[in-house]
Subunit: 331 residues, 2 copies
Amino acid sequence: MRVTIADVAQAAGVSKTTVSRVLNTRAEVDASTAAKVRDVINRMGYVPSSGAVGLARGSSRTVGMLVPSLTWPWMGEVLQGVVDTVEAADFGLLLFTCNRGTESVARFTHQVSARAFDGLIVVEPENTLDMLTALHRDGLPVVLVDDRGHHPEFPSVTAANFEGGASAARHLLADGRREPLVLTGPQRFGCVRDRLAGFRATCAERGIGVGLVAEGDFTEADGRACVRRLLAEGREFDAVFAHNDLAAIGVLGALRDVGRRVPDDVAVVGFDDIPVARHTEPSLTTVRQPMREMGETAARMLLARLAGGASPTSPVVLPTEVIVRGSAPAH
Amino acid sequence: MRVTIADVAQAAGVSKTTVSRVLNTRAEVDASTAAKVRDVINRMGYVPSSGAVGLARGSSRTVGMLVPSLTWPWMGEVLQGVVDTVEAADFGLLLFTCNRGTESVARFTHQVSARAFDGLIVVEPENTLDMLTALHRDGLPVVLVDDRGHHPEFPSVTAANFEGGASAARHLLADGRREPLVLTGPQRFGCVRDRLAGFRATCAERGIGVGLVAEGDFTEADGRACVRRLLAEGREFDAVFAHNDLAAIGVLGALRDVGRRVPDDVAVVGFDDIPVARHTEPSLTTVRQPMREMGETAARMLLARLAGGASPTSPVVLPTEVIVRGSAPAH
DNA sequence: CTGAAAGCGCTTACAG
DNA sequence: CTGAAAGCGCTTACAG
């Protein structure tokens, strides 16, 4: 059978209390006693049961992570950032998705109440916000990785959306573009409004109006359809700022279909810098969101909170960066 | 404070034993007693502590998953398949990576010994195989999602690599191609040898020799370099079968660079069907691996094993499928 | 510096 | 059908 703290105690000729103390490196233990115990521990290959420790201490050294979907193009980077940070702190990561609606949410809340983890990282909690608010008020530490909404109730990390939009505008204007189309995401998202506002503000500074703004839904199909429709209506533009890369890919497709050259006739800038971006034809210039860093930051914030620290009351904003590729080269 | 089984027992006027029995839907409980207890449970919002249950029962209703990296293009699909299956069975999923070498491995083994989970799913365990073998012999149920090696010791799920290679050959031959180049992955991987063997066997059946085989390393850069080098050496081919999509993308790039037209001059078939494949120029014909289904299958196998069932002794092989796109159209 | 005992919140023989 | 008690493997006052 597996070796327990009692086995170690017996083999070392001390009490379980003493073994526990050397395990938790309490100062009070005599050096030679500690050495002896450590020796036995190593010899027997003893590792404390995480379940028992958790029960006794009332915490599990585990954080939960709730994501809407694991197959979104940028999710892997966020996850990797979180996992790296959490593992480095010797915490476990319990992963949940809520892609199957009510059932998943119910299952998830259950896990929460079961105290399976000490704190929670949530990525874009669109349908789960009410539940999260309740849990948070109930004492569960929560950190959001979230660009979509503004949720002052939670500590959160987000990308510099306003500045990202502004940098897209600067890039296009520097290239001499004067008639931009902005293809936004759903305008109910905070990130969308911020990206648009940043783009507009910069254009306004330079005396350029943004006449053409279309609301999309972040999908490739929609990006393609939208550009087709506008061209069919006779609208003209020499640049497109799409609010995410998938939509930008749809834009590239539509432009190719109708024979407009990118970037000669129309320059295209996306947002996100998902892995596909470097492989489109032409490759996609885009405003990069530092997804991995966002995951790392969220995890660090949560761990700090669990260690007793305070959480920032305003969102932590990470910088974006224009990645220049073929679809909108430098001037 | 949080409500415990003792609180429920007291409020319902029964013993903890009885509460536990209705919790675990044992038959012996009187119907009206059970109803009363259930009522109290709902009213108090009681959920058993997973840690305490785990300790008492000796199992955690949690499975672990160990992956080499979370940012590989197809990992999200595997993960999603595993998570969906595991969640549906009311198990938790503890996620680990071993991308930081020895340190991560050590940390991970520690978690295992701590009995943080009941069983383990491992994706492509290149450096961790010795450790896994030890754990498995020690009684930890393990299932592999693994195309790279052949590990008879473990239950595993894999894609039909031989047949996948054969189908790539059939597709290219049907299109009239007669001089294929095969750009393999590292030949120490079982999947690579199988894909190559399947391709060769089908060509041989049709009387076509495979004169040109190059060993690559699965990266885009290598795929590009390899094709460049072969062309510079004056080698000719009218088709490329790359053993993964990333390498195939490199191939497309190299061919474009030197002005060869795809698919007119050279047809290209990849392997995997990662998300990028539909967005390359031309879009990539590829042999699809059913990543999500592989994740689901592995999870189901592990859960069955944890429920006391036996595991299949030979690998479970899931079918591949040729996804026809622009780089190698149907004849 | 060290240990006996209680406690964390459950489950499970065992007895009735 | 129901409950008192022991036990799962730890930690932590408390006493010495």
